[in-house]
Structure formats: structure tokens, C-alpha cells
């Protein structure tokens, strides 16, 4: 590689994108849809991959892509405002600029799910990186068996994509169940952690592939329960999270045992993760 191409392909330089749409999902969570500012084609992505999003002069963050992989030239991100950079990101107005690097990382192995039942287990904003899988399955309904989406949130007001959840539930061979930690008076649905929904899931464990994303403690118990219900460890996938500064394996921040979450993950098979999930402060 010559010096010139090294500069032009510098993976640390963000590409300018502009905000096409901002959708308020909950009190603190927004979905931004971005398009390349220069009119060039956007980057294709695999469900489960993430980008580094940069706000001019503020900071950069790893954010999973939550949009439809079939929609070319558009990238959607669902962001919860919890700090300075995420706040700046969700405060962008339509037409505003966001720097994008990526997509990075491994995707959910959707090809491996062909011909099988697909179980999606999400906690809180963990549904965001799983939404592209749901789009993928619903676009190619004939390629997959049953689709079961089990979703847990803290309260009904914190459920993401509520209209879509209802729409997905009406699809052929699709089951969508939500549960919350605190229901309140008007909630008619399930109350409890997401694993309490497992007994309602209608699928064949031995021919299922499970994709889970949420807080680490949730994924630990989800994977453990799924294993007792007959899913093989090799058929359970988790999306892991760690601090990231570069997404290229250079900054060292995202190390998880021998793995770099950014380039070896963020999607890992449960049998790889199981010994590590047991280790406190790894």
C-alpha cells in the first residue's frame, strides 16, 4: 500500500452524513436516520454491526445500526441520551451533520438461521441492534421458520418501537411478547424479567437459533435458561458491549479476555462467552 492510499483510506476519518429524520422513541431515546452528505452511496451493513458516530467538536461513540439492511443509502441508529456525546447526538436537527465511521464488527449470523426458528431476546435498548434481524427475517419470510421476539423493558413507557412491535406480531408465523419490570395500573401485559417469557415462546428449541442483546447480566441468564430449554450453546449468540475509542483494535479499550469486542465481535457465540461471563471485573 502506498502512503497516498493509506491517507485516503484512513479508517479513523469520519465521513460526513446528514440527519434525515429524528424519531422520538421514549423520553430519552431517539432514532436518527442518516444519509451521506456528499450524495455518495452509503455503506452496506450486516444486521448487528455498529458505526462510530461523531458529533463535531463533542465526541464519538459506538452505536449499533438499528435500521433496515435492505434500505440502501440510509443508516438508522437508536440512541439513548445518557451523556454529553449521546445528548449532542440526539439533539441534532434534520439537516444537521454527523460523522460516520464503519460499519464495524461481526453481524448476527442470519444465514445460519435459514430454515430454522429465530428467537430474538432483547432487553431495553438491546432491541436496537436486533431490529435489523427482524427486518431481514420479515423481508424473506419463506427462508426462515418461526420468528419469536421476546422483549423486556423497565416500564411500558420505555418500550421501543411500540407500533412496529404490534405490526410484527400480526405477521405470519411471528410471535412478539413484551414484559416490563414495573407495569403500572394501565399495563395489561406481562410483568417480570425477560426470561419469564420463555415458557410462552412457540418454537422448536432444537431447530432454533437465538440472538440476544441487553445488559450483560440479562444475557447471562437468558443464555443459561435457553440452554436448559434445549438450545445448544453454539446456537445462542450474544452482542457484547465495552468502551471503544477506535473500533479497529488499536485503542485497547474494548478488550474482553482475549477478545477485542470491536473486531472479533460485538456478536459472539455463547460457548465462546460463557467462561468469561462468569468473571467479575474482567
Amino acid at each position: 500500500m502506498t502512503m497516498a492510499t493509506a491517507t485516503t483510506t484512513d479508517p479513523m476519518l469520519p465521513q460526513p452524513y446528514s440527519v434525515r429524520q429524528v424519531v422520538k422513541e421514549t423520553a430519552d431515546t431517539f432514532t436518527l436516520t442518516l444519509e451521506p452528505s456528499n450524495g455518495a452511496g452509503g455503506n452496506r451493513f450486516q444486521p448487528g454491526q455498529f458505526s462510530m458516530l461523531w458529533v463535531f467538536g463533542v465526541g464519538e461513540l459506538p452505536i449499533s445500526i438499528s435500521g433496515d439492511p435492505a434500505e440502501r443509502n440510509r443508516l438508522a441508529y437508536t440512541v439513548r441520551s445518557v451523556g454529553q456525546a449521546t445528548h449532542a447526538l440526539v439533539s441534532r436537527e434534520v439537516g444537521g451533520a454527523v460523522g460516520v465511521r464503519g460499519p464495524f464488527g461481526t453481524g448476527w449470523p442470519v444465514e445460519k438461521a435459514e430454515g430454522r426458528d429465530v428467537l430474538v431476546v432483547a432487553g431495553g435498548i438491546g432491541l436496537a441492534p436486533l431490529r435489523p434481524v427482524i427486518y431481514e427475517v420479515l423481508h424473506h419470510r419463506e427462508k426462515y421458520g418461526r420468528l419469536v421476539v421476546l422483549y423486556g423493558a423497565r416500564s411500558p413507557r420505555e418500550l421501543l418501537y411500540r407500533k412496529e412491535l404490534a405490526a410484527w406480531a400480526r405477521q405470519h408465523e411471528t410471535q412478539v411478547l413484551s414484559t416490563v419490570d414495573y407495569g403500572g395500573l394501565s399495563w395489561r401485559g406481562q410483568v417480570g424479567v425477560v426470561t419469564t417469557l420463555f415458557k410462552y415462546a412457540r418454537l422448536q428449541p432444537e431447530r432454533s437459533l437465538a440472538f440476544a442483546c441487553g445488559p450483560e447480566i440479562m444475557m447471562r441468564f437468558v443464555a443459561r435458561d435457553l440452554e436448559t430449554r434445549g438450545l445448544a450453546r453454539e446456537n445462542i449468540y450474544l452482542s457484547m458491549e465495552r468502551n471503544m475509542k477506535c473500533a479497529l483494535g488499536f485503542c485497547g479499550h474494548c478488550q474482553y479476555g482475549p477478545h477485542f469486542i470491536c473486531k472479533d465481535g460485538p456478536i459472539f457465540r455463547y460457548d465462546q462467552m460463557r467462561p468469561l461471563l462468569e468473571k467479575y471485573e474482567l
Binding site: 491517507t7 468502551n243 478488550q255 474482567l282
Partner: protein, 380 residues
Amino acid sequence: MHAPALLTLDQLARLVPALHSRGYQVVGPTVRDGAIVYDVLEGISDLPVGWTDEQEAGRYRLRRRNDDALFGYVVGPQSWKKYVHPAEVRLLTAERSGHTFRILNNDPSPPRRAFLGVRACELAAIAVQDRVLQGDRYRDPIYAARREGIFIVAVNCTQAAPTCFCTSMGTGPRVRGAYDLALTELVGPGKHEFVIEAGSDAGAEVLAELAPSAPSEAVCQEAEAAVERAASQIQRRMDTTGIRDLLYTNFDHPRWDNVAQRCLTCANCTMVCPTCFCTTVEDVSDVTGMHAERWRKWDSCFTQNFSYIHGGNIRSSAKSRYRQWMTHKLASWIDQFGSSGCVGCGRCITWCPVGIDITEEVRAIRESPASSKESSHGNP
């Protein structure tokens, strides 16, 4: 291979001008602030002539030698990563333009450098950083641009510090490959000369300009013996047998609590380590808000917010941070990059303000391995 040659001190003095005339900026060891650091050299008189260093765990002192040796010391607090993977580097400058922004990337390219005085452990460290920063999935263009075309003048160690353990890590004290020229200094009463070997065509070409003579067999043997003497001076040992599994299986060893009682989490060990590569990125903007820059800076796994994600820091205890550093350096590095991250230079031992010794920590774990009981954090 090129045959060894012999240089007098005067002939060696022509090396720096010879490198300058080929467009290299020459950097190497020099005395500053009571330590031997790396900086730009105008000639061999800028080297630490007649100085040596005394090193022990948590201790470093310069002392006068009773001769005028140019390389009569070992390694100081800095390493060559200062030049190839700098402590602070600008990733980008950007300016607002309308609703979008433009990246302005017009930083001048780094000078072509010649490294003068690279020790065997440091050659090994450069090879380790090559694997991390340009040999894996992605290539760091900043590192690659600074690394490419460096002219390396290596030096065989003829003495060792008490903190050295390169023989345990298989990296020294003799330099092997990956250099343009390699020197062995011979100094004694009425004698000051250098056995020099070229390791590349570029090295041979520079060497020819210095008009060396052919060394006698006796001089070559003397140079061999000097390097052997350095090897035999090395007292510290690290047994690396099965070290990856040793550390993986001793995640809950009580020694981690013991070392955490002493560790200040000051990050000195990661700053002086020639292979530690972790960085953070800082955003800055001017008061108009029209210009922004992103800077990459060395970071350390010993800082608390290194592992911050929303909700808290993954590694909040000192114990977990020391364990991460040592387990990464000696164990997971092997899984990630196919070699140990430790080259046995001993800097982390010398520059630890409380004198924590990585070789002693490994020995403590090896001598009383934890029982095979499951983790203390009880996940079935």
C-alpha cells in the same frame, strides 16, 4: 550475510553525518533531567558519553563511568514508541462548512528517522507493535507512516541491569535481524572500538562510507564475550512455561489482592512499557465552534474510566486493573497477536514507584496456584 567490520571511535563519529546526508533525522539516547532519554542527536558526542545507569525495582540513578563508553548503560524511561506511536498525535482537523463539515488533513509527513542505539529487547518491542498496529485486521496509517523506512542502528548490550530479564523472554541481549547496522562496543584501557555488522543493503552501503577495517578473530571473540557477559549478568528470571494458561486459570488467585495493596494504579508501567499501545481520543474545538480537532493520546488500563460504559466502570478495583494489565501482557496477548507482549526490558520494574516486579508476581502465582475451585462469583 555481511561480515563483521571494525570501527574506531573516529570512524564511528562519521555515522551520524553519513545518516544526515541521506536525509535521516538521527534520534538516540542522550542525558536529560537525570535520565537517559531519546532525542535528536547532532553527533555521537550527544550520546551519554561516560554515563551509566543504576536500576533496581523503583529506583533509577545515573552514575559516571570510569571510561568514555557511548553505550555503557541499558534502557531508560522512554522507548522508541515515542516516535512511531507518539504520546499525542492529531487524528484530524475539521471545519464546519454550512450544514456539514470538512476534514482538513494536511499534517506534514513525519521526518525519515534513523534510530541509533536500539537494544535487542527494543527491536523485539518494535516487532510486537508492528503486529498490533499494522499486522492485524486493520492498519494504523499514523503508525505505518512513521514506521516505514526507519534506519535502525542496533547495539548489543555488553552489560545488564538488575531489572533486565530479556533472556527469559528470548529477546536479548544479542540483537537478531531487523536492523540495518548492529554495533558491539569494546572499551577498555587505551582501547575504544566497535565491531559492526550490516543487516541490510542500506546498512552495508552506509558502513562502506565509514571506511571500516577488518577485525581480527580475537576482536570478534572479544565482542562475543562482551555480549555473553551481559547475558550472564542477568539475575532476574521469568518462567514463561504455560504462562497463558497459568494466568487464565488463576483469575481468582489471592495474589491479585496482595499486589493491589501495593499498586497505586499510577500507570507508570504502561507509559514506560515499549509495547503498551492503548490510546484514548480527545475532542477539542475553538471558541467559535467552527474548528474541531481530534487527538489520540496514550491511555492506560490502570485508569478507572478506561473501562467506562454507561452504568459504570467495568474494572473499578485496583486488583482488576493490575490483573488486566499483567494478564493481557503475558497471556491474552499470545491469543491476540501470537506472541507475548513482554520483551523483558524491566522498565515497568524500575519505574514503578513502589517497586512492583512483574517477574515476582508471576512467580508468586506459579508457586501457589489457586485451587481448581470455580470462580468466587458463583455462576454455575
